[in-house]
């Protein structure tokens, strides 16, 4: 049975509840990337996923569903912790501190000065 067949009822549900998605396949999983019209619609999909594959254990599906019109959707943000510096944060993502600085020039003027609790956009 192909993965698409295994998760057919999930894809059907997505078609019916207004979720738009794209499929791709890696060597280990079917990757479903899409946008749901509401968080209820997203939850329906996850409930169905849980029904097909209890506790999402098999790892043959990546269900990357975001909710449309969500605030800040698509942009990854990092919340600054005490003791953080731009280069330390950069190291967590394997990117240069300068890249983070450039992405946040609207809220950082001095790269040596960031505050705990500040939300930084991470350009990845």
């Amino acid at each position: 049975m192909s993965l698409q067949e295994k998760y057919q009822s999930l894809l059907e549900l997505a078609n019916n509840n207004g979720t738009t998605y794209e499929l791709s396949e890696s060597d280990s999983a079917l990757v479903v990337t899409g946008v749901a019209p509401s968080s209820e619609a997203k939850q329906e999909l996850w409930d169905e996923y849980n029904r097909i594959d209890p506790d999402y254990r098999t790892g043959d599906l990546v269900l990357n569903i975001t909710v449309g019109d969500a605030a800040g959707g698509g942009v990854h943000t990092y919340t600054v912790e005490p003791g953080d510096s731009l280069s330390k944060i950069g190291a967590k993502y394997g990117i240069a501190w300068k890249a983070i600085f450039d992405a946040n020039r609207d809220q950082i003027s001095n790269p040596d000065l960031i505050h705990p609790g500040q939300e930084l956009k991470i350009p990845i």
Binding site: E12, S24, V31, D55, V62, N64, H76, K92, G94, I122
Partner: protein, 160 residues
């Protein structure tokens, strides 16, 4: 007497007309409109003697089945031959390099309150181990799925 015959003929004629119903072209048009209304795109319909033939390339099996059931439900269509083909599924590529993906998953987990999980990323495939609170298990799995990886080895345990 003459009047009776005339009435019968008229009635028979009227019946014949309604039995013929819509032409093939009308049926094809109705089917296409219905497909459009159901948001099925890329499927074209040809109708001959009430038999609809579907063709075109669709995203997946689900859309193919939906197109068939939608057209079947059109009044006047006797049967459906479904010749739609499936679009080949592209190979997934990770959204970001491994270290960036790892950082993203770790931060997402932190935001979701999933402490106690450790993250490894190799070639776009995420492996997550550790124990997270049972009430947050689904939220933790969701946030990992949303990082843009192409694989997920879920070794999370549910704890208190």
């Amino acid at each position: 007497m003459k009047l009776k015959v005339l009435t019968v003929i008229t009635l028979a004629f009227a019946l014949l007309l309604s039995a013929c119903g819509k032409s093939d072209a009308d049926l094809a048009k109705a089917a296409s409109e219905k497909l459009g209304a159901e948001k099925v795109s890329g499927v074209s319909v040809v109708v001959k003697d009430g038999v609809a033939t579907l063709s075109g390339e669709v995203a997946d099996q689900t859309v193919k089945a939906k197109a068939e059931s939608v057209v079947k439900a059109v009044e006047g269509i006797k049967s459906v031959t479904n010749n739609c083909t499936l679009k080949p599924v592209p190979v997934a590529t990770p959204a970001a390099p491994d270290p960036a993906l790892k950082g993203k998953v770790e931060e997402n987990l932190k935001k979701a309150g999933c402490t106690g999980a450790t993250v490894e990323v190799v070639n776009g495939k995420i492996t997550v181990k550790g124990t997270v609170p049972e009430a947050k298990y689904t939220a933790c799995v969701q946030t990992i799925n949303e990082a843009g990886a192409t694989g997920f080895d879920n070794q999370l345990q549910k704890g208190k």
